[in-house]
Symmetry: C2
Subunit: 243 residues, 2 copies
DNA sequence: CCGTTCGACTGATCCATGTTAGTGATGGTC
DNA sequence: GACCATCACTAACATGGATCAGTCGAACGG
């Protein structure tokens, strides 16, 4: 796979037009590529590591565990997303990370990243955009938990995931492949898995969308957008910003 | 008021030991100081401004409005906190800002800030810490909305506020002054104001804490911490990190 | 001084969602 | 082939919190 086809490059170029030089600087960043099995925790918790990753393949979630034993998933990472960027730049991160599928991730050394930023400002702009989009997603997620009911939350979540996946060429407005279990959805949306099941059934019966056997189908995209009050603006996906 | 006594400096020095030179660089940052009346929206929404503020006096909240007319408060800013740092560094922010009390804020020009960072790395570290603490608070807030019930959320919120205020010398483990209405609490905690009232009454009757007439009193700090499962770790308040 | 607004506060009712306790299908493993 | 774990799915029941519909007191503008 050439750099241009990597999910990370696809995501960035959707936002900032990158020159060939920018792209080759990007490919120089990629260090050792590692694989991790699904399920077992990568447990970055409490560690302060000097290395971050760019997820090349597979899905990951970051979550916090509560004393009661329940957990809250803060967000999901898909190919092209950073893993552990914060724990490089800031202090040790306080949440845990679990691979949902088998994953492949390329190491990025903090120094290399900062050097590349100095030489290629557009690259820096693109990465900052990605980071700020991720933050906007957390805020939107928070709004959902506070003020949207279960069907809206679910619809919003699936639409957001769909939009992110489309950006890296892993989905269309018709649907996308999705390895999440109903338990993952429950932990992300602050619901019980029982209720997740009910809500999914209702969305299906209402002809809005169908989630079955690892695949999400948008049965009526526009009506789902309306029901979920989904506003793409916060994802900032409407074409390159810097030409 | 000397720089050292400003809430911003107090907050930073609680985390990173700053030299006299660092502190004077800090005081050079402060630009024009402006006042805003309570209530009227500062409406940064959709604007991309080149100026941020450091809140010197008063309380502010940032929130998102939903189509249904309800709102979700994302967080509160108190003296010493940044206002609009994100909209300087990143793209236009998509939430609104409302002063809760009359406020005073000093302008910070983005360039000045970046220059100061280059010259005084410890200052940069301190500001980065502040930014990452704010993010950690948003995540913790999200966890609360997803997985804590109303009394825990309320307790957690009041304890967090108390800890932040103590850092800038505006509160103790006994309590603090708090200009928030029960509507503010409702919008922040994802509850109805009716339920906020009930929960406050219950906390009072249980001898945990009392919120009345603009004042929060911790009646039994330790028991409240336990009830709310409040873990200070994410605030990172345990003394200076860099000596 | 009166009327208006706003915030704290309450009781009654209802419903969205949680909890408990299952069934059945699938796939992996020894 | 037996066993086990995991996941989707369901029904019955319980409940936290929303909603509705107020009262009351304080602050405020005219």
């Amino acid at each position: 796979m050439t750099v241009l086809e990597s999910p990370f490059a696809r995501k960035l170029t959707a936002f900032v037009t990158l020159s060939d030089d920018d792209l080759s600087a990007l490919s120089d960043l990629y260090g050792r590529r590692r694989k991790y099995p699904a399920g077992r925790d990568m447990s970055h918790e409490g560690q302060k590591s000097q290395v971050a990753y760019i997820l090349a393949e597979g899905w990951v979630c970051s979550y916090k565990l509560l004393p009661s034993g329940t957990r809250q998933i803060v967000d999901f990472q898909i190919p092209g997303d950073f893993l552990g960027l914060r724990s490089v730049l800031f202090r040790t991160s306080d949440h845990s990370v679990e691979p949902i599928t088998r994953i492949e991730a390329s190491e990025i050394r903090a120094n290399d990243l900062l050097e590349a930023f100095a030489k290629r400002p557009r690259l820096a702009a693109a990465v900052l955009w990605a980071a700020s989009r991720d933050e906007a997603m957390v805020v939107e997620h928070l709004v959902g938990l506070g003020r949207r009911d279960a069907p809206q939350r679910m619809g919003h979540f699936l639409l957001e995931l769909g939009a992110r996946l489309r950006l890296i060429g892993r989905g269309t407005k018709a649907g996308f492949d999705c390895p999440l279990s109903q338990y993952h959805l429950a932990d992300a949306l602050g619901l019980s898995s029982v209720h997740v099941n009910r809500v999914l059934r209702q969305l299906r019966e209402d002809g809005l969308c169908t989630f079955r056997r690892g695949r999400v189908e948008f049965d009526d995209y526009e009506r789902l957008v309306e029901m979920a009050e989904f506003d793409r603006a916060y994802l900032d996906h409407e074409g390159p910003l810097l030409k």
